[in-house]
Symmetry: C2
Subunit: 338 residues, 2 copies
């Protein structure tokens, strides 16, 4: 690998010389602008190909006032939830020939401010701000370019947030349990103050009420397997009759719960159906049995947020408020009694 | 959020007018070039601050022939191993005020070639190529800018690869087991054709031989918990005496093995000590007991590769071949018999 800079890069002048035209004609021919004879345009293109001429994107940016670059500001380090979002964002941007400048704010306001200034200096065309939980985050404020928040919501109602519909996701889980004859339902989730815990609980309660089901327990704790195991112990020791369907706030909780129930002699799904949330491959596959779960479709979320941003860069109205996308239920062995 | 482009951005001309100097003087004052009276320099700076003037990074790039941008090409989608590498790469680049352009090659050669052309068009100063496993990958070839491979090795010995020392990592694990009186050792890892499986086995065998220990089993299978549980069954059914120490090729395998042993009535760590590989928080914490493991220090790896790249961009010799960085052992409950 040569570690020296290439100072002999091919320039417009070289192409012009080979094609026997002026540098201005080369620009016109390659940018498809101005009036040129087809024969001239072709001669320039052949010369450019022969010399492997790469038009200087930097110079083009300066001329067009647009850099075909979007900043991605992750507010919370590169969490597990960030990966699929990034994949989706890159899908959309790549298709639009737009590159992504990566900035990891790590939840540090100073660091974030530094990055924002840097992105503006670099004249990005827009910014995607990703969070790893649906909880609110501070708006980055009014900027001269469009900004889309994805997953984590902006606290400014004038901003646009694209996120998943946690309430609807929990409703799907309850409707699935009810469809399989489950009647005594419990909800086991993460910290009570997290927005995702609250929204999913609302969906859980609404769907249970609509189906006329008994809600036996609403337990909140941590986003961990250990908490799932603890909750399993609490549910298994109930004297007033065992629940027969549990909706969990995450796959980690669902996995711990499943392990805990099995070890307490309760069979999943024969005695109790369990549904997780996230569709996190590592958890849902390793659980015994594999987990039915609610998929927040994060790749799709990333893709959608980036295309909204691209449209806004091209002049469309960005929109405002929270756009909540539907989740999907993925059915595996943990929920269907046999 | 305003979704319109800001066409009234402050220019050098505005700053010049407010400070009562020529645009050329503004440039000199803000870039610290040329000879200017201190009083003039200060007046320009005050005007720039008052108008919130941001020097145009794009124009600066064109003038300097350097974009302060590095491309990061992930060869294998955004895997779990990519996250800590990215964090480290961003650490180094951020400190050097260099931004990261993100390209997800997804293991597709066509996609990768497209991205490489794009990165060169955008005149990046260098490229980091990340892989998620130490296995070899095709070199991106000779480019006019420096390229560093991290984790995944380039197949061209002229390229520079920064990766972790898998052999040394496995040696650490064996030495730890031996120090705690374990004498009958087994190695349980992923697919036999993976370089990481091979290198770790070499380290395992070398350290076991050096300590005069019996190697009872060398098992290769999959990078999964299910394989770990299967391997536990194989080891527990041994008639020729149980192993008392197992080095696993990953934390997932170690976790499955630990579950499988416990369910077969074998106590970890009282009867058998288990050591994992990766220090993947989700696995090591949820395992019962929590896992002792070999940490490949991926953040440090990312940081090191990026600083080597920055040095090369600044003119230092890039170097070549494979630079293998030491792993560290993290001790938890799964390995120390009480």
């Amino acid at each position: 690998m040569a570690s020296t800079r290439n100072d002999s890069a091919v320039t417009v002048r070289d192409v012009a010389q080979l094609a026997g035209v002026s540098p201005g004609t080369v620009s016109k021919a390659l940018n498809g602008q101005g009036q040129l004879r087809e024969e001239t345009r072709q001669r320039v293109q052949e010369a450019a190909e022969k010399l492997r001429f790469r038009p200087n994107q930097v110079a083009r940016s300066l001329a067009e006032g647009r850099t075909y670059t979007v900043g991605m500001l992750t507010s919370d380090s590169f969490g597990r939830f960030t990966l699929p979002l990034m994949e989706g964002i890159e899908d959309s941007l790549g298709a639009g020939k737009v590159s992504t400048l990566l900035c990891d704010g790590r939840g540090d306001p100073l660091r974030e401010r530094h990055y924002l200034a840097e992105l503006l200096n670099r004249r990005v065309d827009g910014i995607v701000v990703t969070g790893r939980r649906p909880d609110e985050r501070r708006s980055v404020g009014q900027l001269p370019i469009p900004v889309v928040y994805v997953l984590g919501r902006s606290d400014d109602p004038e901003d646009l947030t694209v996120t998943n519909d946690d309430e609807q996701g929990a409703r799907l889980a309850v409707e699935h349990l009810v469809a399989h004859g489950r009647t005594r339902l419990a909800y086991v989730s993460g910290p009570a103050h997290h927005l995702s815990t609250q929204l999913r609980r609302q969906g859980f309660e609404a769907a249970a009420a609509a189906a006329g089901m008994t809600v036996s327990d609403l337990l909140t704790g941590h986003w961990s397997e250990a908490w799932g195991r603890t909750a399993a112990g609490l549910l298994a020791r109930r004297t007033s009759g065992l629940v027969d369907g549990v909706v969990c706030g995450s796959d980690q909780i669902a996995r711990g719960l499943t392990d805990g129930l099995r070890e307490a002699g309760v069979r999943v799904p024969q005695d109790v159906s369990v549904v997780g949330f996230d569709n996190w491959d590592v958890m849902v596959q390793a659980a015994r049995p594999p987990l039915t779960t609610v998929d927040p479709k994060l790749v799709r979320l990333g893709r959608l947020s980036a295309s909204r941003l691209l449209a806004a860069i091209d002049g469309a109205e960005l929109g405002r408020g929270v756009v909540a996308q539907p989740c999907e239920l993925v059915i595996r062995e943990s929920s269907v009694p046999t």
